[in-house]
Amino acid sequence: MTHNIKKVLVLGSGALKIGEAGEFDYSGSQALKAMKEEGIKTVLINPNVATVQTSKGIADEIYFLPVTPYFVEQVILKEKPDGILLAFGGQTALNCGIELFNAGTLEKYNLKVLGTPIETIIKTEDREIFANELRKIDVKTPNSVAVESIDAALEAAGKLGFPIIVRAAFTLGGQGSGFCNNMDELRVLAENALSYSSQILVEESLKGWKEVEYEVVRDAYDNCITVCNMENFDPLGIHTGESIVIAPSQTLTNSEYHKLRSLALKIIRHLGVVGECNVQYALDPNSEDYRVIEVNARLSRSSALASKATGYPLAFVAAKLGLGYALQDLKNAVTKVTTACFEPALDYVVCKIPRWDLNKFEGVTKEIGSSMKSVGEVMAIGRNFEEAIQKGLRMIGQGMHGFVGNDNAKFDDIDKELSHPTDMRIFAVAQALEKGYSINQIHDLTAIDKWFLSKLENISKLKWKLKKCNQLASLDTDLFRKSKVYGFSDFQIARFVLKPKDGNMESELLQVRNARKKLGIIPVVKQIDTLAAEYPAQTNYLYLTYSGCENDVVYEHDNKSVIVLGSGAYRIGSSVEFDWCSVNALSGVKKEGYRSVMINYNPETVSTDYDVCDRLYFDELSFERVLDIIDLEQPKGVIVSVGGQIPNNLAMRLHEAKVKVLGTSPENIDRAENRKTFSDMLDNLGVDQPRWAELSSLEAIQTFIDEVDFPVLIRPSYVLSGAAMNVVSNKNELEHFLNLATKVSKQYPVVVSEFIQQAKEIEFDGVAKDGIVLIDAISEHVEFAGVHSGDATLVFPPQKLYFETIRRIRKIAGEIAKSLNITGPFNMQLLAKDNDIKVIECNVRASRSFPFVSKVMNYNFVELAAKAMLNGIIPTQMPSMFELENIGVKASQFSFSRLSKADPVLGVDMASTGEVGCIGPDYYDAILKSMLSVGYRIPKKSILISSGPIRSKIELLQSTQMLQEKGYKIYGTRGTAKFLSDNDVEIEAVAWPDEEGEKTALDLIRSKEVDFVINIPKNLSENELFNDYQIRRAAIDLNVPLVTNARLASAFIYSFCKKSLETLDINSYNHYVS
C-alpha cells in the first residue's frame, strides 16, 4: 500500500452533548491508532480534555482548541499537515470541514480530505440535493419540500397534508425536528427549526413504519460491505437515538434484509463514499415498500454501536480505507487470519437502550419523539431477546430490575403512556401486560412490532409462574433455569418467589444465588468473534449468558487477573471522564504485570474496545454479574475506584462477599460515603464542615433551620450527584421541595445542611498510598458555591486562592487520607470563605476532574493510583502544581437546546452533559478558549443583561463598564438598567416579556438584535419568575449565547475584552507541558 500522506489533521467532536457523545472519542481514537500504525504523524484538535483520544501517546500533537474554522486554520498554519480526517468527530467536525471547504481553506493549504470526498458529504447533508441524488438512481426518499421560511413551510404542508414532520438540515441528533398535526404546531416548530438552520424540510410522516439502519463500508476500489444492520424496537417517529435498538434486525425476512442492504450499497456507490456510512430506512410494516430517511457519510453513534455489536472496528477500517487500502488488504481484527472484507455473522443479539436524565431538568417535557434527548446508552448482549432486554433495562441504572419487578414504574393512564411515548414507555408496556392488555391492543397503541411484544409477554408470563411459587425449595428447576435464560436477575427471582417486604434484599438475593449455584444454574461465557464460531477467535471480547452449556474461555486461575469495574451508561454526573480513568487504570494494571480485565457495557466508550484490555466482559455491573465474573476469573482483586459511583457503591457488598477490593478498604470507603461517620471523623480531626443534620420530620427540620437560617441545602442521603438535591430559601419552598425529596427515597431520611453564600468552592484531587498523599491537585471554581461542581468552571492551578488556604487544604487532605488509610484515588470538595475552610465531601475514588488535572499537570493520576493499589514501586519524584507554567480551565457544556422547555439555569443539581479543558499562558486566554469551545461566541454588537439580585449587579458592574469601553450596546431589564445607569453605564432599558406594547427583552432576542444574553436568576429557588425563564428559554431556543451566573459572565466579559481571537495563544499540548 502506498500513500504519500505524512501528517494528518484529525478533527474531534468537542464536549459531549446530547446527540454527540462519547462515541466520537472511540472512533477518533481508532482513527488515530490506524494512522499511527501507518507511520503517519497525527495532529488532533479537540478541546475535550476528558477523552482518551486527548491523552498522551495517541496523537502526536494535541490542540485543546475549539473545533471551528478559525482555530483549525491556525493549527494548519502551525503544523502544515497534508491530509485531514473529517469523519471521526461527529457533526461538529463535519460541519467545520464543510465550512473550511467552502471558505477555500482546504484548497489554500493543499489539504487532502482522506476518505469520503467533501462533495459527497455535502450531498448527504443538504437534504434537497440528497433527495435528488437518490432520485437519479431510483431510490425512494420521503416526499418532502425544502423551505427557507415559515410561509413556505406552511404552503408545503398544505400540499403534503398533515401529519407532517419538520426537520432542520445540518444539525445533529434531530435538533429542531418534530411532528406537526396542524398549521399552528407547524408555525411554532418551523420558527424554532429555522433558528438552527437556514433550510428546513417539510416531509410526509411515516409514523408507525419500521426503522432500520445499515452500517456500510466502501473502499476506493468499489468494494462494499454492510457490517451490521439494526432494527428499532420503537417504530418511526422516535429518533433512533431515543429508540431501543436491536441488532441484527429481527422481524425482517431475507428478502427485506437484502433489499435494503443492496439499496445501501447502491447509494454509497452512487454518492462515492470511501470509508464508513450509515443509511437509515423506513420500512412499511405491511409490504416491502421503503423510504431512505437519512445517510450519514461519517462515523456516527450507530457506527460505534455497530462496532461494539459485531466486534468489527469500523472507525479503524474506515481510516485505513481513507489511505487507499482495499478492504481485503486489511485483516479481521478478531481472527487475525481472515480478511476485513466480510460481513460479521452474529450468534447473539444486542439491545441498545437509551439513558435519559430528564428528571434532572426543571420543566422539561418527558415525551420522546423525533429529536434526541437521551444523554447516554447501554448495550446488552444475549442469546435471546428476553435476556438482552432485561439485562439492558438493568444496565440503564435508574433503579430498574429488568422488564418486570419494578415497584417504581406505575402509570395512571396506561393508554396515554403507550400512545404518547415518554422515557418510561417500555415499563408502561410491562404494566399493560400485567393488566391483561392483549398484544394486539398494545400494538395498536404503540405500533411496536408484535414480535417484540410477544417476547416481552414471555417475560411477563414467566413472572406469573415464579409468583405462584413461595419458596426456592419448591421452585421447579426447569422454571428456575428458564427464568435465568430469559434474563431474570437473582433480585427479580427473590422478589417474585421469596416476596420479601420492602428494604434491603441482600440476604434473599444471596439465597437465590446459592440455591441456583447448588443446582448448577450458572452462566457461561461466550466470545464475540465476528464469524459465529466459523473460525477460531483470538478474542477477549466476552459476554455471559444462560443460553449455553460451555465456556469459550479457559481460565488460568494464576492470581494474575485484575478486574477493573467501568462506569456504565453516560449520564449527567458520570461521563467520558470515568472512561478515561478506566482505560488508564487498565494500562496501569498491565504496566504492573497483571492481566487487565474490564467489565463495562457502554458502547460509546474506549474502555469497551477489546484492544485496551486482556479480557473485556461486555456485561452488567450488577453485584450478581460481577460476582459471576469473579467466580470465573478468580482474580487477584477488583478495582472499584475508577469508574465513578456505580462500582464505588459495590465496594462494601463485594467486600462482604469476601472479594478482594484493591486499594482503600471498603469499610473506609463506606466511612467516607456515609454522611454520619464521615462527619464524626471530621469532628475528631477538628476539620470544619457546614452544619448539617439528618432529619425525618418537618418540625425537626424547622428547628434546625431556626438555628442555621435560610438558605439551606436539602438532599436525600446516599445519592449520586445530588439527584433531587435542592437549595431552599424560605418556608414555602421548603414544604414544596420536601414532598419531592421524600418521594425519591423513603428509606433514607432527609439531610439538611447550612448553605454558605459567597463562598469559594475548591476541588482537591489526589492519590495516596497507605494513607500518605503521593500527589495532589487543587483547583478552584470560577462560580461561587451553589453551582454543582460538575457544572462549574474550574481553574487549575488556582489563581485566586490564598496561599494559606492551599496550605490548609493540603493539611486537611493529609489528615483525611491518613484517617481513611487511603490507597488509590480520592477527591474532596471544600468551601473557602476568607481563610475559613469547610469540607463538603470526600469521595474515595477518582473524580470527574482527574483527567483534567492529570493532563494539565502532565502526570497520570490514575496510573499512579493503579500502581499504588497493586503495591508497585512508587516514584520518589512527583511534580507539583506550583511549578506549572500554564493555566488550565475546564468549562461545562450544556445541552439545554435539546431539552425543550427546560429552564437553563444552574443550581446544586448537575445539568451539564460534557466538558472541555483548555490550556493557556494566562487566565483570560484559557477562559476564553474554553468558553468558545463550549459554544459561546464573542459578541459582535449588543448584549442584554438582567443582572438579578443586588450582589450580582455589583459583581457585574466592572465588567459592564468594560463592555461600554469596548463600544458594545447594552440593553437591560428595568432594575438592571436603573442600577447601571446610576453607575454611569450607558444602557437602554427594555420591557419584561409580559409587559405589552413595548419593545421587550424577548423581542430583542427574537430579532437577534442581541448576540449575548446575561440573565441571573433572582434567587436560589427553582420557582423562577416567569419573565426570567422566558428570556433564558428564548435565548436557548434561538441559539443566542446565555450565561446565568454573574461570576462566570464577568470572567467571560473580562476575557473577551482583554483578548481577541487573534491574540489567543495557539500551541499544542506538548508545548504547554514540556
Partner: protein, 358 residues
C-alpha cells in the same frame, strides 16, 4: 405441552433440548450455517438434502413462513417444492411469528413436511465442535425412538432432488438448458428475468445433442464425483463452444469434466458473508455459500484458471476456461438467501450467449 428431544453426535456427545416441528427421530450429516436471515430459503434448498442443519444465529421463527404462492410455476418464496434438509437445530425458537407475508409458523411448516427440529441447544458449542472435528454424523431423537446414524454422502443425493422430467419455463430469446442437480428456484428466476427460455432437465439427461444457446449447471447436494453420467455429458459440452455457467455443485462438475479433482472440506462454507476475490483484481465480493466440497486448483488443466478465490482460506470460488465461454462460481450468485452482489454473473452468461449467437 413441550416435548424433550436429544441431539446425538457420532462421537457420543448429547445435547438436550425441546422438540419442534415434526415429532419424529431422524439421522443425517450435521453441518452449520452462520447466516442471520433466510430459514425458509435454507430449509427448502436441495443442497441441504440429507443434512441436519444447525444455524448459529440463535433466534429462529420470528417472521414465520410465507404461503405457497406460485409464480412461473415455481414457489415464489421457497427454493424447491418442499423442505429438503433432514433436521433443524436452533438455540431459541419462537412460534409467535410476526410478519405481513407469513402464513404459518416454522414449526407448523416443518410438521407439514415431517421434518423434526430441536431448540434450546448451545448452538455455539455445537458449531465449535463441528469446526474442530469437521462435519459429523448426527441424529435428533424424539420420544426415545432411536435411529441409526447414516452417512447421506454415500447415497446419490442428486437423484433424490433432481427433476424427474424435462420442464420448460418462460419464453425468452435465449434458450438455456438447465441441468438440474437439485436446482434452487432462484437460479431459474434469475435466468427468466433475463429474457430466457429455461429447459430444466434431469441430472442424468443426455443433452449433448439438444438445441440450446447456453448450458447451465445447477447447485446440488453431496459428493460431486457420484454424478458420473452428468460429468460425462458436461465433458462433451466442454469440447464444444456453447457458453456454460455453473454454480456450486455445477462448478465442481465443470472442474471434474475438465479433468480436475475435488475434495471434501472439513466443515464446508455455509454462510452469507464469504469474501470471493476476483483473481487479478482488487474486487472482492460478499457471497452466499453452501458447499461441503471444493475444487483442488492444483489439478486444474492448463487451459483453465481460477476465476474467484476465497479471501479467507484461499479455496477455489470459481473457475473459467482461458479461451472458451465456460465459467462457474462455487458461491451462489442467485443468493436467496444471502447477498445479491454477484447476480451480475448471470448477465455475463447472457452476454456470452449473445456473443456466441453473433
Amino acid at each position: 405441552m413441550l416435548k424433550q428431544a436429544k441431539l446425538i453426535l457420532e462421537d457420543g456427545s448429547e445435547y438436550h433440548g425441546t422438540s419442534f416441528g415434526y415429532e419424529g427421530s431422524v439421522a443425517g450429516e450435521m453441518v452449520f450455517n452462520t447466516a442471520m436471515t433466510g430459514y425458509p430459503e435454507s430449509l427448502s434448498d436441495p443442497s441441504y438434502r440429507g443434512q441436519i442443519l444447525v444455524t448459529t444465529f440463535p433466534l429462529i421463527g420470528n417472521y414465520g413462513v410465507p404461503g405457497d404462492r406460485k409464480e412461473d410455476d415455481l414457489f415464489r418464496y421457497f427454493e424447491s417444492d418442499k423442505i429438503q434438509l433432514s433436521g433443524f437445530v436452533v438455540s431459541d425458537y419462537t412460534d409467535d411469528f410476526s410478519h405481513w407475508n407469513a402464513s404459518l409458523s416454522l414449526s407448523d411448516w416443518m410438521k407439514e413436511h415431517q421434518i423434526p427440529g430441536i431448540y434450546g441447544i448451545d448452538t455455539r458449542a455445537l458449531t465449535k465442535k463441528l469446526r474442530t472435528n469437521g462435519s459429523m454424523k448426527a441424529k435428533i431423537v424424539v420420544n426415545d425412538q432411536d435411529v441409526a446414524f447414516i452417512d447421506p454422502n454415500s447415497r446419490h443425493l442428486v437423484s433424490e432432488v433432481s427433476t424427474k422430467e424435462v420442464k420448460t419455463y418462460g419464453n425468452g430469446k435465449h434458450k438455456v438448458l438447465l441441468l438440474d442437480c437439485g436446482c434452487k428456484n432462484n437460479i431459474i428466476r434469475c435466468l427468466l428475468k433475463r429474457d430466457t427460455t429455461v429447459i430444466r432437465v434431469p441430472y442424468d439427461y443426455d443433452f449433448t445433442n439438444d438445441d440450446y444457446d447456453g448450458l447451465f449447471l445447477s447447485n446440488g447436494p453431496g459428493d460431486p464425483k457420484l454424478n458420473v453420467k452428468a460429468i460425462d455429458h458436461v465433458k462433451t459440452a466442454l469440447s464444444q463452444d456453447k457458453p456454460i455457467m455453473g454454480i456450486c455443485l455445477g462448478t465442481q462438475l465443470m472442474a471434474l469434466a475438465a479433468g480436475a479433482d475435488t475434495y471434501k472440506l472439513k466443515y464446508g462454507h455455509r454462510s452469507h458473508n464469504q469474501p470471493a476475490l476476483l483473481k487479478g483484481t482488487k474486487r472482492c465480493f460478499i457471497t452466499s455459500q453452501n458447499h461441503g466440497y471444493a475444487i483442488d486448483t492444483d489439478t486444474l488443466p492448463s487451459d483453465w484458471e481460477v476465476l474467484f478465490e476465497n479471501a479467507n482460506d484461499n479455496t477455489c470460488e470459481g473457475i473459467k476456461h482461458k479461451t472458451k465461454p465456460f465459467f462457474s462460481s462455487q458461491f451462489h450468485p442467485e443468493a436467496s438467501s444471502g447477498p445479491t452482489d454477484t447476480e451480475f454473473l448471470f448477465d455475463d452468461f447472457i452476454g456470452m450467449m449473445e456473443e456466441y449467437k453473433g
